[in-house]
């Protein structure tokens, strides 16, 4: 990935600590040079406790979190809250690309099973293959006879589809029920803008009313 750089010459009158903060903020996704400047000067005027708290919080996310050894979700304890919860359905595992996807799924409170985070998706042109994401760990986990259903919840773009097809190829010989989240028309949109693949899948997956 290209590093965003602000040239030093463009801000000759800026104090060096501010300059450094602007450069650091500018590295964050979605923060451009002007946004970085605005945030830096805001923090300069903010109460000391607030900046202190922010600095400590940022430092703690690296120090106080780790990946759950079972599902690879981000956790502050040795096992994540979902894997530790005995009330979760231990027979189902839902496969997602990144930890943020769990948040979206959990928000609905529909799914009561477990998760597995791949930390990426197969993307040949970016050089990401099957060994670069946590597929081996998943297969190891599926040796546990308790698991009877695997739900593929990878993204519905080309990389997510490739990953799902590849997992299907690996998991189908294991005699575990394998399902993929339904695809079709999103809620609150208009049919006329839908693309061919979405409409095709919506028809294929239509249900009795």
């Amino acid at each position: 990935m290209k590093e965003k750089v602000i040239s030093n010459q463009s801000l000759p009158s800026t104090a060096e600590p501010i300059q450094r903060l602007v450069q650091e903020l500018n590295k964050l996704p979605g923060i451009g040079p002007k946004n970085a400047q605005r945030l830096a000067y805001y923090l300069l005027r903010a109460p000391e406790e607030q900046t202190q708290l922010l600095a400590e919080t940022i430092a703690s996310i690296k120090r106080q979190t780790t990946l759950c050894p079972i599902c690879f979700n981000v956790t502050a304890t040795d096992h994540c809250l979902i894997c530790r919860n005995p009330e979760r359905d231990q027979t189902k595992v839902c496969i997602v690309e990144q930890p943020q996807d769990i948040l979206a799924l959990e928000h609905t409170r529909i799914y009561k099973g477990l998760y597995h985070v791949l930390h990426g998706a197969i993307s040949p042109t970016e050089g990401v293959g099957a060994n670069d994401i946590r597929i081996t760990e998943l297969l190891e986990r599926l040796k546990n006879k308790l698991i009877t259903e695997v739900i593929l919840a990878t993204n519905t773009n080309l990389e997510g589809e490739q990953t799902a097809l590849y997992l299907n190829h690996l998991i189908s010989p294991l005699c575990i029920k394998l399902t993929r989240l339904a695809q079709g028309l999103p809620f609150g949109t208009e049919l006329e803008y839908a693309d061919d693949i979405t409409i095709t899948r919506a028809f294929e997956g239509r249900q009795g009313f």
């Binding site: 996704p29 979605g30 197969i122 040949p124 042109t125 970016e126 050089g127 293959g129 099957a130 773009n157 080309l158 589809e161 490739q162 097809l165 590849y166 190829h169 010989p173 999103p186 609150g188 949109t189 803008y193 839908a194 693309d195 061919d196 693949i197 979405t198 095709t200």
Partner: protein, 256 residues
């Protein structure tokens, strides 16, 4: 006269990278403008009207608004989404390989209509059943021609004599064949059997319809693949990333 603020073209989406919260920068290959880049805003949100029409390996009509730096995509309608191709793991890998080659070998805003047609036709042909390896070799050979690297397969590039039906040699440096007498003039050469040379010449001269009738042995197919890949690596001076995935898929399907 100023240029119009919006324009429309058909395009094949060959690359995408994330930008900001929900946007992407897409690389598109078009018949008239050649390779272009544009921003697709909000495309990563589930309710995006454009997302399905702008996925990788999709042939679409796309409208753009000119921007200061990059143009912005304002509308899109799918022409062909190549669904059979996207529902098959290895076909997708083959298709991504072709688009990666197009992306690597072309510069922005250079019109090459035959190359667009070649990519489009190759994606169509991949959806139909046929010899995928031969399709790729055909694609590569015609890609070389369109970008000015057409290999000389008829005569020896050093002595200019027609090649005899014996074991000859391919040299990436000189972009063509060497006869057994001249092969020592180059340091790196790859032996090419009489059959392999015949297939390469045939692919160079024929279109898709005729190549679907050709059947070749796996050994010959490997030989062709090796020569072609080495030539590509020489021209690009780097590896083609999607090759690794293509190979690992080939291996795993052979095992099962």
């Amino acid at each position: 006269m100023s240029r119009p603020r919006t324009y429309q073209t058909e395009a094949i989406i060959i690359k995408k990278i994330k930008l900001g919260e929900a946007d992407r920068i897409l690389t598109l290959y078009t018949p008239i403008l050649g390779k272009i880049q544009a921003v697709a805003k909000g495309i990563r949100r589930p309710k995006s009207k454009l997302a399905g029409h702008l996925e990788l390996l999709t042939h679409s009509t796309v409208s753009f608004a000119r921007g200061r730096n990059l143009d912005t995509i304002i509308g899109s309608q799918t022409i062909d989404s190549f669904l059979p191709l996207k529902s098959d793991l290895s076909l997708t890998a083959y298709a991504l390989y072709t688009t990666e080659l197009i992306n690597q070998f072309t510069a922005e805003y250079i019109e090459n209509r035959p190359l667009f047609q070649l990519l489009l036709e190759t994606l169509h042909q991949l959806c139909l059943t046929g010899n995928r390896e031969l399709l790729l070799r055909h694609f590569e050979l015609h890609l070389f021609k369109e970008i000015g690297y057409r290999p000389q397969l008829r005569e020896c590039v050093v002595c200019r004599q027609p090649l005899q039906p014996v074991l000859n040699y391919f040299s990436s440096d000189t972009g063509g064949m060497l006869c057994p007498d001249c092969r020592l003039t180059q340091t790196i050469v790859y032996p090419l059997s009489v059959d392999a040379l015949k297939v390469l010449r045939w692919l160079q001269d024929n279109d898709f319809i005729t190549i679907s009738r050709l059947k070749i042995e796996p050994k010959l197919s490997h030989e062709l693949e090796r020569v072609s890949r080495n030539y590509i690596k020489y021209l690009l001076e780097r590896e083609v990333k999607s090759v690794a995935w293509l190979d690992s898929l080939k291996q795993s399907t052979q095992l099962i």
